[in-house]
């Protein structure tokens, strides 16, 4: 039996208005493909490139509570800031983030990552040094790979020591697109320039 979109929408809006939702999520469009955005009562909890993200939602539920409901309204603010970012009109995000459930190393690295400015890049090794573990470039790479709030926590701005893009959880095409959008210099640095 099908539920009319009006009835469905009315329930979702009522649930949100009554404060019964731990995490609201929706899939939003962007120039680099659809994004699954999840917002908890504490703030933006996840952005995922994988929109059939059953596992992603389970993970968020484990952190923020089981009352996870799709609700376009709950991601309005994030949608607006992302739209501005992709339109080139926003360089800094003004969003509260939900970073609960992270190991302290991850948390520290992501805080440092948040300081990498728009349009610039840094390296895994440099980021590792900045958190006081100069040999932990690989561990920093893992943190980038598992970053649950990409774009807003700009792991796309972290590249290899020689300037190679190295990798990106959303695929290198997306990393390139984000860096191009920001006007960052991409490509291997020549040793003797």
């Amino acid at each position: 039996m099908t539920i009319s979109p009006q009835v469905d929408r009315r329930f979702r809006d009522a649930a949100l208005s009554l404060g019964l939702v731990d995490v609201g999520f929706d899939v939003i469009d962007s120039p680099i493909g659809p994004l699954l955005v999840a917002v908890s009562t504490e703030g933006l909890a996840a952005i995922s490139y994988s929109v059939r993200a059953e596992a992603e939602l389970e993970r968020i539920a484990g952190i923020a509570g089981p009352c996870v409901l799709r609700s376009p309204r709950s991601v309005d603010e994030v949608r607006r800031e992302l739209d501005e970012y992709f339109a080139g009109r926003r360089r800094v995000f003004d969003l509260t983030l939900d970073l609960r459930g992270m190991a302290s190393f991850t948390f520290t690295v992501l805080q440092e990552l948040a300081r990498v400015p728009y349009g610039e890049t840094t390296t895994y090794g440099a980021l590792a040094s900045r958190v006081g573990h100069p040999r932990a470039a690989r561990a920093v790479g893992t943190v980038m790979n598992k970053n649950r709030i990409p774009i807003v926590l700009p792991c796309h701005r972290v590249v290899g020591a020689n300037g190679n893009l190295v990798g990106y959880a959303g695929g290198l095409e997306r990393k390139t697109a984000l860096l191009e959008l920001e006007g960052a210099r991409i490509g291997p640095t020549r040793l003797f320039e």
């Binding site: 039996m1 539920a61 409901l69």
Partner: protein, 155 residues
């Protein structure tokens, strides 16, 4: 050691059971009134969802909440719940599966007994279904059981 079935994110619970819930509500209340009852059912479920201890019997749980929302709606509109009770017609409704045993109990006690002993739900879960406190659910269950015992002795 047995592991409890994890509680799925509410969205999945909703997607899996909304169709059955709507079907039950339309049968009991008609198309128009079913829409309001549908919202009420899932708001009650959402309200209780955080207190669930495991993810078992969620379909039975959802349908029982729906059944109760329907009974409340029928009562409010002064239509006797009995006259709209589809009885054996609705063989799929969890609430009615143990109907023959609990027939004759007031609706709340009947539901409490069925949920407790038919589906092994906790009093917290039953409370959510009935829209009452856990203590009230426990009382409804024990009163229901007492009445059934008594009836058996009498019969």
């Amino acid at each position: 050691m047995m592991h409890a079935v994890p509680i799925p994110p509410f969205e999945r619970f909703y997607e899996e059971h909304r169709s059955d819930v709507m079907q039950l509500l339309r049968r009991r209340l008609g198309r128009e009134r079913a829409d309001d009852a549908f919202q009420e059912t899932f708001l009650r479920a959402l309200q209780a969802y955080r207190r669930l201890e495991h993810g078992e019997h969620l379909r039975a749980w959802a349908l029982t909440i729906a059944q109760h929302v329907a009974i409340d709606a029928l009562r409010r509109s002064r239509v006797h719940a009995e006259s709209a009770d589809p009885g054996a017609e609705d063989g799929r409704a969890a609430y009615l599966e143990l109907a023959p045993l609990t027939d004759g109990l007031p609706p709340k006690e009947r539901a409490a007994v069925v949920l407790r002993y038919g589906y092994d739900l906790s009093y917290e879960q039953i409370a959510a279904a009935l829209g009452s406190s856990a203590e009230a659910a426990r009382q409804a269950t024990s009163t229901g059981v007492r009445k059934l015992r008594k009836r058996r002795i009498v019969q």
